[in-house]
């Protein structure tokens, strides 16, 4: 049953001389299995890479500044100059979508990275130290999770104010506290293992067991769980921007492009609403499928019965 990544890690000390080549081959093995066993996950992964490529090279790929207003070219249909047409201010829709990809991915990836850090700090401390601290922290997490997500985010965003940094920090911390349950569970699970007891029995101090035995063994499942969550983070940002509490209106976020400002023009030109939504759905779908595939391949025990 338990022949997974984490148990192989435990033997690191004994075979430290062979671990390097083995690790590389495991990565190659992972990609090989991804392509062979999870075609949908592979395609999704490729689409995610395309979006990342577009986001990184947004400046090169666009022909106009995203905020360039062309009064004379308002509400143009698709043409050779404006491949997807222009919006009510004559801004190129394709350019705004491309810059939007950069924004969505920046928020999605940065907030998720912060999620992992916060979740490992909160959940790790709570699970590792246990006792009264655990009881107290968990009541706080209970309260946090009972708070309907969007209401909590709306309230905090009106404290933090609109902005890219603000939304990353807010989504990162809010999601991290909620996600700390996963980390806490994983840490408590490890504390039951013989190798953990053995480390304590030979007198290894607390911080050493934490760094050497607990953290390496929780990182794989933690990263998988949070990868699956990237799509959710992107939707949260879009929802907040849509409601006018996320990014400022001049920033071409996909959610913001769908917000009230442009609503009256969408009936005249539905593509203004169609494209940002399609981009959102596609990237979220691909992150979900890629995350699912990674989970199935790397840690089947996390599947939770979904088959």
């Amino acid at each position: 049953m338990r022949v997974t990544l984490r148990n192989m890690n435990d033997t690191t000390d004994i075979q430290s001389s062979v671990i390097e080549p083995k690790r590389r081959s495991r990565l190659a093995d992972f990609f090989f299995r991804l392509v062979r066993e999870k075609p949908l996950g592979t395609i999704s992964g490729i689409i995610v890479l395309i979006f990342i490529f577009v986001a990184i090279f947004a400046d090169v790929l666009t022909r106009f500044p995203y905020d360039e207003v062309n009064i004379l070219d308002r509400m143009q249909g698709p043409s050779a100059e404006y491949l997807l047409g222009t919006d009510q201010l004559g801004r190129d829709l394709l350019t705004r979508l491309i810059v939007g990809a950069r924004i969505s991915l920046t928020v999605g990836l940065a907030a998720t990275a912060l999620n992992v850090v916060v979740a490992v700090l909160v959940g790790g401390a709570s699970g590792f130290i246990g006792g009264k601290l655990d009881l107290g922290v968990q009541r706080f997490v209970d309260a946090w999770m009972a708070f309907p997500g969007l209401l909590l985010l709306l309230t905090i965003m009106s404290i933090a104010g609109q902005g890219l940094l603000q939304i990353i920090v807010v989504l990162g911390i809010a999601g991290g506290i909620g996600g700390s349950r996963v980390v806490r569970g994983a840490v408590i699970g490890i504390k039951e293992n013989d190798y953990f007891l053995a480390a304590r029995a030979i007198g290894s101090p607390g911080h050493a067991t934490l760094v050497r035995h607990v953290l390496p063994n929780i990182m794989a499942p933690v990263i998988i769980v949070f990868t699956i969550n990237i799509g959710g983070v992107i939707i949260s940002e879009a929802s907040l921007s849509f409601l006018g509490f996320g990014l400022p209106i001049e920033v071409p976020s996909w959610g913001g492009m769908l917000s009230r400002e442009g609503r009256e023009f969408m009936e005249a030109a539905p593509r203004l609403a169609l494209w940002p939504g399609l981009c959102l759905t596609t990237i979220v779908y691909c992150f979900n499928m890629l995350g699912d595939a990674m989970r199935d391949l790397l840690d089947p025990r996390l599947r939770g019965g979904e088959s």
């Binding site: 309260a143 209401l151 309230t155 169609l274 939504g277 979904e306």
Partner: protein, 320 residues
């Protein structure tokens, strides 16, 4: 069992306490103090009006330290059942919430109902015909449904029918007592969109649970008795597979609340979600805190209720 109920109820107390502090403090961190924003909102700066700041603070109860304010807030809730007064002169917060509540509850209940009506048959059928075209189709649609932002779906439903048939959702709330059909019609589309979102998750859960149950010994026994498929599924499998789905409904509540904020905003439904956005725009702190506390307490209470009735639904679960 009684010990479990008592322990569960005791654990609720610190959760609600921390929740109330979270709700209360969060609005106090909104930059600038309430009076400044009030002055800005009223446009008093431009007319250079002078006013007695200390008197306004006293009147709004902002002249005492934060912990005293919190104490008063809690005291009012427990002693008078009052969530305070709107800063913007819109009356008592709890009355406003009660005014708006029916709309949000109707939306939420219809969404849950529609979600179940879609999810259960599809989930059950998908499990019965595992790995067939129908199964793949159902699952693919569910996964796409999970990835589609509900506000975008709502926008599409607003825009395309408007172009094709000149249809637009009504701007005024149609009362149920005056025009039941018109009222249900008004709630149908937003509930459908909210419902499909939760249906995706429920369908996946139903399918998984059904697959698990269908592999049990007692199902094989039922088959070997010569029962028809319909009897095996309806009488033996579904009953047991659906129990965990009940707790999923509780887990989906917070998401449903968020979705109703968005749907009320798009479809002009005067519910609690729209009140919340309005209050946030106006920086009406008592209103924001009141709505937040109300929703969070509802979520805690309903989840507690589901936990408590669970052993009655599933006798195998015995809390100790």
């Amino acid at each position: 069992m009684r010990a479990y109920i008592i322990r569960r109820l005791l654990l609720i107390i610190p959760t609600l306490f921390i929740l109330s502090i979270l709700v209360f403090l969060s609005v106090r961190f909104i930059p600038g103090d309430a009076i400044d924003i009030m002055v800005d909102n009223l446009g008093l700066r431009s007319v250079n009006a002078s006013f007695d700041r200390a008197a306004v603070e006293r009147r709004l109860g902002l002249d005492v330290p934060v912990y005293v304010q919190y104490g008063r807030w809690m005291g009012d809730i427990f002693l008078h059942g009052s969530l305070g007064e709107s800063l913007m002169g819109r009356g008592a917060v709890e009355e406003k919430i009660m005014d708006r509540l029916p709309v949000t509850i109707e939306l939420g209940l219809m969404a849950i109902l529609i979600g179940l009506v879609i999810a259960l048959p599809v989930g059950i059928y998908s499990a019965m015909r595992q790995d067939t075209v129908a199964d793949y189709l159902g699952r693919s649609i569910a996964i796409i449904g999970l990835a589609t932002p509900n506000f975008w779906l709502a926008l599409m439903v607003m825009i395309y029918p408007a172009i094709w048939w000149g249809w637009a959702p009504p701007l005024e709330l149609v009362s149920f007592t005056e025009d039941p059909l018109g009222n249900l019609g008004m709630f149908f589309i937003p509930s459908l969109i909210l419902g499909t979102a939760s249906a995706a998750a429920t369908m996946r859960m139903t399918r998984t649970m059904m697959l698990e149950v269908l592999r049990q010994d007692y199902i094989r026994t039922a088959w070997s008795k010569g029962l028809k498929e319909r009897a095996v599924v309806t009488r033996h499998a579904v009953k047991n597979a659906l129990i965990p789905v009940v707790s999923l409904i509780g887990l989906q509540l917070p998401i449903l609340v968020g979705g109703s904020v968005i749907m009320e905003n798009i479809f002009n439904l005067p519910g609690l979600g729209r009140l919340m956005l309005f209050a946030l725009d106006e920086r009406d702190y008592p209103m924001v805190s009141g709505i937040n506390l109300f929703f969070a307490t509802m979520v805690v209470a309903i989840n507690l209720l589901i936990d408590l009735i669970y052993p009655y639904l599933d006798p195998r679960v015995r809390y100790s």
